[in-house]
C-alpha cells in the first residue's frame, strides 16, 4: 500500500488531540488525527467536564486563566453551530479540617497573586449563600470562584475537530494506530489498521492509553490508568447550586445546564481502562452525598458510566518533547485535563513548530520523573 504523507500525525480524538490538531493546522502544518473509535469516545466524553480557575500550582493557574478566557467564547471563535453549554455556575471546594482549609487558603492566595481575582475563601455562612441547599454540618470553610463551571465535553471535542477539519486536517475516525515508524533514529510516521502515514512528527494525546504508544518507542510513560465513575440523575429545574467538591470524602456533585445532577466520588478504584461500572458505586456515592445535599434524596439516578483517569506519580500532566526525536506527548492529566485543551493544544503546536511555549510548561517535562522533580497539584480529586 502506498503510504500517505502529512507533516504531523496526532494520536487520539479526545479534546487534547482535537485542539492540538486545530492549532497545528493554524500554523500551516498538514495534520492528520487518528482516533480508534469516535471523537470524544474516550476519557474526554466521559469526564465530569468541570472548568476552573482554582488550582494550586503556578503553572496550572496560569494555564487555567488562558483556558477560562478561551472557553467563554470558544463556540463563536471556532464558528461552531452547536451548543457548548458553557455554564459558569461556580466551583465550591469544601474543607472539613483545618489542614484542608489551610491548603484552600493557600491556593486562593496563589490564585489571587497570579491575577485570578474571582477566587475567595468563604466561611460557613457565605457557603450557605452560594449553595443554599447544602447541609453545612462539619464544614469549616471553602474556596469559591463564581466563574468556574461546566461545559459539554462532547460538543467541545466536536467544535475543535470541526474547526480543525475546516483548516484541512484529516480526521480519521475508527482508525487504530498500531505502531510508530522510525527512520534514522527519529520518528517518521505511523502504522494504522488502515495503512501507514509518513509524518515528520507524532503527537500522542492518547490519555490513559498513552503507555502503549510510548512502548513502541521504548519510552516508559509513567501513567497508571484508573477507572472513575460518574452517575447522572433525571433532570429537574435549575437550582442555585455550584459544583461542590468535598475534601473529607472526595464526593462531588453539580447540576448540569440541562437540569440533571452529576454525582461522583473519588475512591479506591481498579487500575485499568475498563469501561465497566460497579454496582456498589451508587451506594458509596449516595451515602456520602445525600447527607450533604438532602434535597437530592428521592431523585432518580438514570445512568452510570466510567472513564479512565491517566494518573501520573504527581497527578500532573506530561507535556512536551521526549527523548524520541519528533515524538511529543500531551497526556497524564490525572482527571483534570479536559479544560486544558485550549492552552495546551496551542502549546503542543508551538513545540512542534520549534517555538518557545507561550506559557512555560517545563514543569510538565517528561524527564522530571527520572530527575526526581515531582510537583504535586493539591487541587484535585
Amino acid at each position: 500500500m502506498d503510504s500517505k504523507k502529512v507533516d504531523v500525525a496526532v494520536i487520539g480524538g479526545g479534546v487534547h488531540g482535537c485542539s492540538t490538531a486545530y492549532h497545528l493546522a493554524q500554523k500551516g502544518f498538514r495534520t492528520a488525527l487518528f482516533e480508534r473509535d469516535y471523537i470524544s469516545s474516550g476519557s474526554s466524553g466521559r469526564s465530569a467536564a468541570g472548568l476552573r480557575y482554582q488550582f494550586g500550582t503556578e503553572v496550572n493557574i496560569l494555564l487555567a486563566q488562558y483556558n477560562m478566557k478561551c472557553l467563554k467564547t470558544l463556540g463563536e471563535d471556532l464558528n461552531y453551530p452547536g451548543d457548548l453549554e458553557y455554564d459558569p455556575a461556580g466551583y465550591l471546594w469544601i474543607a472539613y479540617s483545618e489542614t484542608q482549609l489551610e491548603q484552600l487558603e493557600k491556593n486562593v492566595r496563589l490564585q489571587n497573586e497570579l491575577g485570578t481575582t474571582g477566587s475567595r475563601v468563604l466561611n460557613v455562612r457565605e457557603i450557605q449563600e452560594v449553595a443554599p441547599f447544602l447541609n453545612t454540618d462539619g464544614m469549616l470553610g471553602a474556596s469559591f470562584n463564581q466563574e468556574d463551571g461546566h461545559i459539554n465535553p462532547h460538543t467541545l471535542c466536536f467544535a475543535y475537530a470541526d474547526a480543525a477539519k475546516a483548516l484541512g486536517v484529516e480526521i480519521h475516525k475508527k482508525t487504530s494506530v498500531t505502531g510508530i515508524i522510525t527512520k534514522n533514529g527519529r520518528v517518521a510516521g505511523i502504522h494504522t489498521d488502515k495503512g501507514d502515514w509518513e509524518a515528520d512528527a507524532v503527537v500522542c494525546c492518547a490519555g490513559a492509553w498513552s503507555v502503549e504508544v510510548g512502548r513502541w518507542l521504548d519510552l516508559e510513560i509513567p501513567i497508571t490508568p484508573e477507572r472513575h465513575q460518574i452517575m447522572i440523575t433525571e433532570p429537574v429545574e435549575r437550582m442555585k447550586h455550584p459544583m461542590t467538591l468535598c475534601l473529607d470524602d472526595g464526593s462531588y456533585w453539580k447540576q448540569c445546564p440541562n437540569g440533571t445532577f452529576m454525582l461522583g466520588v473519588g475512591k479506591e478504584e481498579v487500575k485499568d481502562t475498563s469501561y465497566y461500572a460497579s454496582w456498589d458505586y451508587l451506594d458509596s456515592a449516595t451515602e456520602r452525598i445525600l447527607p450533604k445535599m438532602p434535597i437530592l434524596s428521592g431523585i432518580r439516578v438514570v445512568r452510570q458510566w466510567t472513564g479512565p483517569y491517566a494518573n501520573t506519580p504527581d497527578f500532573q500532566a506530561i507535556v512536551g518533547p521526549t527523548p524520541a526525536e519528533g515524538f511529543y506527548i500531551d497526556c497524564g492529566w490525572s482527571g483534570h485535563g479536559l479544560q486544558f485543551a485550549p492552552s495546551v493544544g496551542r502549546i503542543m503546536a508551538e513545540f512542534v513548530n520549534g517555538e518557545k511555549p507561550f506559557i512555560d510548561v517545563s514543569m510538565f517535562r517528561y524527564s522530571r520523573f527520572e530527575e526526581g522533580e515531582l510537583f504535586f497539584e493539591p487541587a484535585c480529586i
Partner: protein, 367 residues
C-alpha cells in the same frame, strides 16, 4: 443480596418461554418484567398466529399468552418460578455479575443470578417530520396496549405509517376496536408484511399508499391531520402533497432490539440491518459471548413472536442445562425439534431477510 439460579429479563413471548423451560428442568427461576402486566406483545394481539401447530398457529396472540401463563402458574405453585412485574432491570455489573433493578418508581435492589436470559424485546423506531412529537403520534405497540389491553381507543381516525406486519395488523385491530383507519403510508413499492394481512384490510376499504411518506403532522397542541406525499425510487418527493384527515398518527416504522443490558455485560455486539439494530453474537443455543448470558426473542433480532417463543425455549433450556448436567440429554432431544421449527418459521421469501441477518451473528458454538 437476593440470589437465583436463572434470571429471565423480560416477560414477553421469549422470556415466558425461557422461564418455563428453565423451571421444567428444576432450576430456580426469577423473571422480571418492566410492565404492569406480563406477556409483552402477546397480550395485545387479537389476530391468529401464523406458523404450525407447535407455535399455536391459528390461535390468537392473547390466548397464546394465556396458555403460557397457565404453565407459568404451575411452576409458580411449585415454588420454582418467581415473577416480578412492574420491575425494570436497570443494570448488569460485569465484574461480579450483579443485576440491579427497580420495582415501580421507588424500590431499588440487587440480585445475583448464576445465569441470565436476556429477553428484553424491542422498542419502536421513529422517523423525523415536523410535529412528530405532538400528542396523537403514538407508537404502534402503544396503540395496541391502549386499545387491546386497557380498552381505550387511541382516537377516532388513525393514519398508519408503515405497512409491515405490525402496521397491517394494528390497522385491522383498530377497525375491530371501532376506530377508522384513514390509510396506510408505506415508503417502499410493496407492503413489507404478509400479503394476506394487507388483503384483509384492503377489502374493508383501507387505502395503502405505496411509495408515499408523511411529510408533516398538522396541529397546534395535538394532532389534527397529516400531510403525505409520493416519493420515487430514490425516496425523493414527487407529486402533490395530500392532506389526510386524522386525529392520530400511528408509527409502525419498525422496531429495534433493546440491547442496553447486553452492551453492559460486554457481550460481543454487531450491527445487523436485517435484524434491525445491534444484536449479540450467539451460538445455536442462543448463548452470547458472555458465558453466563443467553439472549432470545426480539432482543436477539426483530422477528415474529412465534420465533421468539421457540428461541426463548432454546435459551431457557440451554441456560438451565448448563447448571444441571442431567438436563443436557433433554437439551439434546428437545433442541433438535426446536431448531427444526425455527428453520420452518424462517423458510421462504418472507424469512430471507432474517436468514441473511442470522448468518452474520450466529456461530456454531463458543470455543
Amino acid at each position: 443480596m437476593k440470589t437465583t439460579e436463572i434470571l429471565v429479563v423480560g416477560g414477553g413471548p421469549a422470556g415466558l418461554s425461557a422461564a418455563i423451560e428453565a423451571a421444567s428442568l428444576g432450576c430456580d427461576v426469577v423473571l422480571m418484567d418492566s410492565d404492569l402486566k406480563l406477556g409483552g406483545q402477546l397480550i395485545k394481539q387479537t389476530h391468529k398466529f401464523f406458523g404450525s401447530r407447535e407455535e399455536f398457529a391459528g390461535t390468537r396472540g392473547f390466548e397464546i399468552g394465556n396458555l403460557l401463563f397457565d404453565e407459568v402458574e404451575k411452576y409458580k405453585k411449585e415454588g420454582k418460578l418467581e415473577i416480578f412485574s412492574n420491575t425494570t432491570v436497570t443494570g448488569y455489573y460485569k465484574e461480579d455479575g450483579i443485576v440491579s433493578y427497580t420495582i415501580g418508581e421507588e424500590t431499588y435492589d440487587l440480585i445475583k443470578p448464576q445465569r441470565i436470559v436476556m429477553a428484553t424485546g424491542a422498542q419502536e423506531k421513529r422517523i423525523a417530520f415536523p410535529n412528530n412529537d405532538l400528542p396523537g403520534v403514538y407508537g404502534a405497540g402503544a396503540v395496541q396496549t391502549l386499545m387491546n389491553v386497557y380498552g381505550v381507543a387511541p382516537g377516532e381516525k388513525v393514519l398508519m405509517i408503515g405497512a409491515g406486519n405490525i402496521g397491517l395488523i394494528v390497522s385491522y385491530q383498530l377497525m375491530q376496536a371501532g376506530v377508522k383507519v384513514a390509510g396506510i403510508v408505506e415508503a417502499m413499492p410493496r407492503i413489507g408484511g404478509y400479503w394476506v394481512h394487507a388483503a384483509k384490510i384492503r377489502r374493508l376499504g383501507v387505502p395503502i399508499y405505496l411509495q408515499h411518506t408523511i411529510t408533516e403532522a398538522l396541529g397546534d397542541k395535538v394532532i389534527e391531520g397529516a400531510v403525505i406525499q409520493e416519493i420515487d425510487n430514490t425516496f425523493k418527493l414527487v407529486g402533490e402533497p395530500m392532506k389526510i384527515d386524522c386525529d392520530t398518527i400511528c408509527m409502525a416504522i419498525g422496531l429495534t432490539p433493546t440491547c442496553e443490558l447486553l452492551w453492559s455485560a460486554g457481550c460481543e455486539m454487531k450491527f445487523v440491518p436485517q435484524l434491525c439494530g445491534y444484536v449479540a453474537r450467539r451460538d445455536a443455543m442462543m448463548r452470547t459471548s458472555h458465558p453466563d448470558i443467553w439472549v432470545a426473542g426480539d432482543a436477539a433480532g426483530i422477528e415474529e413472536a412465534s420465533a421468539a417463543m421457540v428461541e426463548g425455549r432454546i435459551a431457557g433450556l440451554a441456560a438451565a442445562a448448563s447448571l444441571k448436567p442431567e438436563g443436557c440429554q433433554m437439551l439434546k432431544e428437545k433442541s433438535t425439534d426446536y431448531l427444526k421449527r425455527l428453520e420452518n418459521l424462517r423458510a421462504g421469501e418472507t424469512g430471507a431477510k432474517i436468514r441473511c441477518g442470522l448468518e452474520q451473528v450466529c456461530c456454531e458454538c463458543w470455543g
